[in-house]
Amino acid sequence: MTKNKITALLGTLGIILGSCSKLIDGYDVNPNTALDAPSTLQLTGAELTQGFIMTDEAARTASIWSGVFTGSDRQYDGLQNYITSASDYDGSWGGSYQGTIAQLRIVENKARAVGNNQLLGIAEVVEAQMIGTVADLWGDVPYSTAFDVIANPTPTFDPQKSVFTATQALLSTAIADLGKGGSANVPADIFFSGKKTAWLATAHSLKARYYLHVKDYTNAAVEARLGISSPAGDMVVPFQGGAIGSSANPYYSFVTNDRTGYLTANSSYAAQLLLSRNNAKTQETVRYNYYFDERGAPAVPRDLNVTDGAFQATSSLPLVSYVETQAILAEGLARTGNAPGALSALNAIRAANKAAYTGTGAQYDAYTNGDFASGGLLNPAAAGKTSDQALLQEILVEKYLSLIGQIEEFNDVRRTNNLIGVPKNVATAPSLPQRFLYPQGEINTNPNVPNPIPGLYVKTPVNQ
């Protein structure tokens, strides 16, 4: 073999090798799955995920630990007895961070890129509600360094208070962005179909909620006045009652299909409270029957009303509402010495109840100052409470009974140091559970998870 031949052969091989990459280029791209999606579809996805997180497992656990519902079988027997482990929280945590906020960050970037301030503002409000909820449930959580897997593969945990500060800032930004105009309608928005006024009101209601959570009652009241102004403006997850697993109310799906018997209202404190509250101005039977049901099998003395009440397949569930906003206003005013204002807000809730619950067994007459005076309708002399104390108690009880099934109840009983007196499910427990546990997935993968890992009865910083 001559040298030339060898050179020629090697040269040929070199060309062949060089062309290898050409032959395979482009075949790494998955032809079955999208590599991107329009920001509007991503908004729908993120909103629905948020709606699911806030009405599904986290809401069920929060309700059991707030005395509203009862865990009655298998793992839910455990939850009822405050037996829980870190792996119970992977779903809610992952859905909040990866399923909701990480997606919203992409939506926000895309909206900024095209100057769609309306879309941007909506995404920011949804994000604020999600991170606020996460901070409520877990305390110190990652936020400032989260959502950037390249720069911060293991995000650090921000103090709970600073997360709420950031939430307020984000809501302020959102309000500003919503005010800038932009695309008028975002039909992909499942909450308000892009209605700007509704989003602005919701943003203020949320600001009110998170001021309340850090016990800034003055600002809470200020924001509540700007918040959702009628039940028609409630932010609700619309459940259309389609097939189980498509658009049916998650409580309905869980109770009737997925885990029948796991979640009941047997020995529910909220139910007992409703049944024991009737007085000259109040009849709660209709509201009781809206949430609870005693028509079930004898094995389940009391159930969630999945037939013609709050938890039917088609029953939409509120995330933040007019009633909650008025309750914040009432509490904020009551705690800052404006009892008349507080009473007026409480009566606004009662007026809303009057509109919502009708017929025999429904009565919500307006309360007067006298009703809270010692010896009044709502302040038996034996209790030894001041008028202001009785008013605050009634405001919190009314809120507790108005928000049945929502996570916010769990936030309130912890924040108020259980002022309304929800009994513990476990006599030996030091208190009601004070938080959700950090999820196992995060513990496994993120060395920044607080150490020692706080237990179930350790209050989150804002409640200490």
Binding site: G94, Q98, N444
Partner: protein
């Protein structure tokens, strides 16, 4: 010079012959016994007089003058057994030589499909001859390979016709990647996928399939007709497979198909016909003592068989409730033969039998089966001339499974292999096969339509043969065509709970139609005598049309469903190879090659599923459903690989052989952010130390070779792991509650699984050493090989903190290692011209261990919840994982106050399904034209999870739930029972005395046994098995792990060859081979279920899980082959 020497030799020979020429001339024709063609070049000598001889001419005839005192002639030829014939009066001696398999083994085929000399190889390589595959009686190539070579473990999924089988060579080399070896036919890689219901993307070529229900699909290698195979070479180690780079980590099976043989234009025709009768080889033992019901009372709709004692019944016809309006009247079902079935009153404490009088029992172990059969026909023609060869075959194998209906497999193959020397320098060969496989598959496994799931749970007192009829309700309304099953005997409900297995076999249809074309064209051009170029192009393409139909009333989906889809796989492969051979001097030979390989694989899957049939009388039609219940889908995968490779072989002094290979590869599945080429080297050394002077006179050791090799191969990442994708949003929790954004106008999210553009191929490094020895003039051969390998950068979905925006990412993170030993012996214990007895045992063991799992302790691979196979750090791959008994630090069971064990709070590893060792022995006796082959193999200690038994305990049909025990009153009063207080007297009882009624003599008889877990004696009764922990639903899975060994009489084959002259002269038939074979005749095992060679998840990384898997079969096979 050479020419001159030749002529001198010829002259000398001629002179010698002249010198001895006297007396007589013997002539005759020497033929190949297999083909009856003349064999040119056969050496014929006079025994004891090596200088007197000749060789046959091109027609195979010879003529030799022999001295008067010569009494025996010796005929010898490479590749054939040497034969001696005593001279008689006749001057004509014609001999049919038989092939010598041991000598043929000398030539092996390498990874590239090129021939090599085994004695010069530095790696262990097993060769299985085509006839041995056919003789096994298996209709599939993979199962025919079972036990034949050390280091190769074949596990069939089920015994259904054409079902897939898993091939594992030297243990598992990857964790979640494809574990199946590469199959190369005539130098061209072909598909051996087994695509389950999870589709082409998720199953990653069948590797990651987690199908615990449905049907067992085929392995696509089944499309090859074993009769067309000349040899199968199994390349086990990394060095042998290194030229296939990232497709070689699981070994390579190189199949060479039959080629024609030159015989002066003569065409050989052969025809083989085989009939086999198959039957179930092992049944699940069931109890037949007690009837349907619970707590000892008969109930005709109870799902359990914890009812009354059948023998205690009155006998005769049941008291049925036939009067409309009477209490308990529920209408009736009318069966096609006019028989009506009415409701039967349930038992009471006073009369546990209720209206049930009949003591008839039915055998549900096998009432869904009868004999299967198969009929296999193949006709082949071959021939050629001095420039061309051809082989043409047409074969059909029809197998009807043992299920009564709709379980069969029909394969038709046509193969044409042609080669021709076009010019002195250019040779072309074309190999083509067309295969059509159609089959009906029967439901199995964890599946309410599985024939065993419904069948084995059926009470012994229920007759499954009436499975369908018209139900007339209490008001007289008729519902036609209702299914009758033991939980729904009248067909009152449209949902039968579990399907009656006979109904499933008659009505649930799962069909596949595969059309496959395999073809290759090879051009070889000799540029110079020492350099040639070879280009080989191969195409493998098939279309699999599948449909799965559940009619209205199926347990799995009572509204009915239909899935129709087409799966297509196409693989195009091209190799361009330049080969050079040179001899530097007398002592050094040098061979080298460089090659270029391009491989493209494209799979598509398109189909639709629909449910809720509108017209129940319509044939299966997607359109016979509401528009909202139709779900179309289409999927594509494309994979491309390009590589250059080279090999250098150096031979030194004809005794040391060194070989080195290198493959440099790029593939579309590699990340775009890493260097897109990866190199896989190998080096081997073979030293024939018996060529040393010290051994030259050794009579005992005739050949000895030491081998040493090192190599690297890889595993390609699965398709499309390098990009992050956007997926439809459907949030769900761990309890099954979920929403779907498609109901809200559609919503998309960036997937939580982060694509990894840095993904590299997994890399397996293996060191292998061994030796091959032959003794007593090569009569005995012994081979030993040890190896150790480790796969690094194994790809795993690694968990990420959700707070960073993703929940997982694919990473090159894990490690897994294998170590093993393979031994084989092949010896002619007796060898005379008329009688030979050959014994060839083999033995292998492998130890596997997952050594790194990227920080996690275990990864789910396959199975049902709590009956899982997992990758666990520090354990072999695929360990059985699930709930266990709670134990103290010494391993003793922790007991509750009553003496019963407790379920541990956390699940863990409880078994290893990888066999400790495997061995086989083949015995071959041959007396003249009669031969007997016996093959036995053994699998030593592998754990199998008998989930079937674990489930049947709840249902009260397993044989262990049929036992009865009588205890004294005193014992009964303190003997504790298990079971929860469900409010009934039965549930609230804590002792035998409380739960059961005493006998007349005061003793207590209960259904169950007295056992002891290390504390007090306890009663294992219905409370334990049905409501307590004595079953797999409530109790730990661990208790149903069985450590199993099994020995299988895999093959007994008796063969007789007729090839006498009269046959040839009168019938023009050169040979008739008659054989009778017993396949899988007997199984010795301690396993309590079906044949333990089974796996629910089929070809996957799961192992050792039996959950209502369909059983295996044994066969008697009669075969006749005519050769013209």
């Amino acid at each position: 010079m050479t020419k001159r020497l030749f002529w001198i030799a010829v002259l000398l020979t001629g002179f010698c012959q002249l010198a001895w020429a006297q007396d007589r001339t013997i002539s005759g024709k020497i033929t190949d016994r297999a083909t009856s063609q003349g064999l040119p070049g056969v050496t014929v000598i006079v025994k004891g007089r090596p200088t007197i001889g000749t060789s046959t001419n091109a027609e195979g005839t010879y003529s030799l003058s022999v001295p008067a005192d010569a009494n025996t002639l010796v005929y010898s030829f490479v590749g054939f057994a040497t034969q001696e014939i005593a001279l008689t009066g006749s001057n004509t001696v014609s001999v049919a030589l038989a092939t010598d398999t041991k000598q043929l083994n000398e030539v092996v085929v390498t990874a590239l499909g090129l021939e090599a000399n085994r004695d010069q190889l530095g790696t262990a390589q097993a060769t299985v001859q085509g006839p041995a595959l056919v003789r096994s009686g298996e209709t599939s190539v993979i199962t025919a390979l079972s036990g034949k070579t050390p280091g190769v473990l074949i596990t069939r999924s089920t015994g259904d016709p054409g079902a897939s089988a898993n091939i594992q060579i030297r243990g598992a080399s990857t964790i979640t990647g494809n574990l199946q070896p590469l199959i190369v036919v005539d130098g061209v890689p072909i598909s051996n996928s087994s695509i389950g219901n999870d589709g082409i993307v998720a199953s990653n070529g069948g590797a990651a399939s987690n199908q615990t229900n449905g049907v067992a699909q085929a392995s696509r290698l089944n499309d090859i007709n074993p009769d067309d195979i000349a040899t199968m070479n199994v390349l086990k180690g990394a060095a042998a497979a290194a030229l296939w780079g990232t497709r070689g980590a699981n070994g390579v099976i190189v199949i060479t198909t039959k080629k024609g043989r030159s015989a002066n234009g003569k065409v050989n025709l052969s025809y083989r016909s085989t009939v086999s009768i198959d039957q179930i080889n092992r049944k699940v033992p069931l109890q037949t003592t007690f009837g349907q019901g619970a707590e000892g009372l008969f109930s005709s709709t109870n799902s359990r068989t914890w009812g009354d004692r059948i023998a205690d019944r009155k006998g005769g016809p049941d008291n049925t409730i036939t009067t409309p309006g009477a209490p308990g009247y529920q209408g009736f079902i009318t069966f096609p033969d006019g028989t009506r079935r009415y409701n039967i009153a349930s038992g009471t404490v006073a009369n546990p039998h209720g209206g049930k009088n009949s003591t008839d029992i039915f055998d549900h172990r096998a009432d869904m089966f009868n004999n299967g059969f198969s009929w296999d026909n193949i006709v082949s023609m071959s021939g050629g001339d001095d420039r061309s060869n051809f082989y043409l075959s047409l074969g059909n194998t029809h197998t009807k499974g043992i299920a009564l209906q709709n379980s069969d497999n029909d394969r038709t193959t046509v193969r044409l292999n042609v080669d021709r020397q076009l010019t002195d320098k250019l040779r072309v060969s074309v190999n083509t096969t067309y295969a059509r496989t159609k089959s009906n598959r029967v439901q199995q496994g964890s599946n309410t339509s599985g024939i065993f799931l419904g069948g084995l749970r059926t009470p012994a007192d229920f007759n499954n043969t009436y499975f369908q009829g018209d139900y007339t309700d209490a008001t007289g309304f008729v519902f036609p065509g209702r299914q009758s099953s033991y939980r729904n005997p009248l067909g009152r409900s449209n949902s039968p709970g579990y399907d009656n297995p006979l109904w499933t076999e008659a009505n649930v249809l799962n069909q596949t139609r595969v059309n496959r074309l395999l073809g290759s064209v090879e051009l070889m051009y000799d540029i110079t005598p020492w350099l040639n170029i070879l280009n080989r192009t191969g195409v493998d393409t098939y279309t699999d049309n599948r449909s799965e139909y559940f009619p209205i009333g199926a347990a799995a989906i009572s509204i009915g469903s239909l899935t129709a889809e087409t799966i297509q796989e196409t693989q195009v492969n091209n190799d361009l190879i330049a080969r050079a051979h040179t001899k530097l001097n007398d002592n050094i030979t040098l061979t080298g090659l460089v090659g270029y390989n391009l491989n493209a694989r494209r799979n598509t899957q398109i189909g639709a599923s629909a449910s809720a049939f509108l017209n129940p009388l319509s044939p299966p039609q997607l359109g016979n459903t509401p528009a909202t219940n139709r779900n179309p889908y289409n999927l594509v995968t494309d994979q491309r690989t390009a590589a250059v490779y080279g090999q250098v072989d150096v031979g030194l002094y004809d005794q040391v052989f060194l070989s080195g290979t290198l493959r440099v590869e790029a593939a579309s599945t590699f990340g775009t952010q890493v260097s897109n080429t990866f190199a896989f080297p190998s080096a081997t050394l073979a030293w024939q130390f018996t060529k040393l002077a010290a051994f030259s006179n050794s009579a005992a050791l005739s050949f000895g070779k030491l081998r040493l090799s090192y190599g690297q191969v890889g595993v390609q990442p699965g398709v499309y792991l390098t990009n992050t994708v956007y997926v439809p949003v459907a949030p769900a929790d761990g309890f099954g509650t979920s929403l779907d954004a498609s109901s809200y106008g559609g919503g998309y999210a960036r997937s939580g699984a982060q694509g990894n553009p840095f993904l590299k191929p997994e890399r397996k490094t293996e060191l292998e050493g061994g030796f091959d020895l032959r003794f007593a003039h090569d009569r005995i051969g012994f081979s030993a090989t040890g190896y150790s390998n480790e796969t690094r950068d194994a790809i795993l979905g690694v968990q990420l903190p959700a707070t960073a925006g993703f929940t997982s990412a694919f990473k090159n993170a894990a490690r897994i290692q294998n170590r093993g030993l393979e031994l084989s012996l092949d010896g002619d214990a007796v060898k005379t011209p008329d009688f030979t007895f050959n014994i060839s045992p083999n033995f292998s063991l492998n130890r596997n261990k997952v050594t790194d799992l990227a920080g996690v302790t275990s990864v789910f691979l396959n199975g049902n919840t709590d009956s899982e196979t997992r990758a666990v750090l520090g354990q072999p791959l695929g360990v059985l994982f699930g709930s266990r008994w709670d134990r103290d630090e010494n391993g003793a069971l922790k007991l509750d106050v009553n003496g019963f064990p407790i379920k541990a709070a956390t699940p863990g590893v409880f078994g290893d399904p990888n066999p400790k060792w495997r061995g086989g022995v083949n015995l071959n006796f041959r007396y003249r034209a009669l031969s007997l082959n016996v093959f036995v193999d053994h699998v030593g200690t592998a754990d199998v999870l008998n989930g079937t038994r674990g489930a049947l305990n709840v249902f009260g049909t397993s044989v262990e739930t049929g036992r009865e025990t009588t205890v004294s009153a005193a014992t009964a009063a303190k003997l504790k029972v298990a079971g929860t207080g469900s409010g009934t007297a039965f549930g609230n009882a804590t002792t035998v005395a409380q739960r059961y009624k005493p006998n007349a003599d005061g003793t207590y008889t209960f259904r169950g046994i007295v056992s002891n877990f290390g504390g007090a004696d306890v009663a294992l009764d219905e409370g334990w098995y049905r409501t307590g922990l004595g079953n797999i639903f409530n109790g730990p899975s661990e208790q149903f792990k069985e450590s199993v060994s099994y020995t299988r009489l895999r093959e007994v084959s008796l063969n007789y060859t007729l090839n006498q002259d009269w046959l040839r002269n009168t019938a023009k038939i050169s040979a008739i081979d008659l054989s009778v074979t017993g396949r899988n005749l007997y199984l010795w095992t301690n396993y309590t279920g079906i044949d333990p060679e089974t796996n629910l998840t089929g070809v996957s990384n799961g192992r050792g899980y039996d959950y209502f898997n369909n059983p295996s079969t044994r066969s008697i096979i009669f075969s006749v082959r005519l050769t013209y």
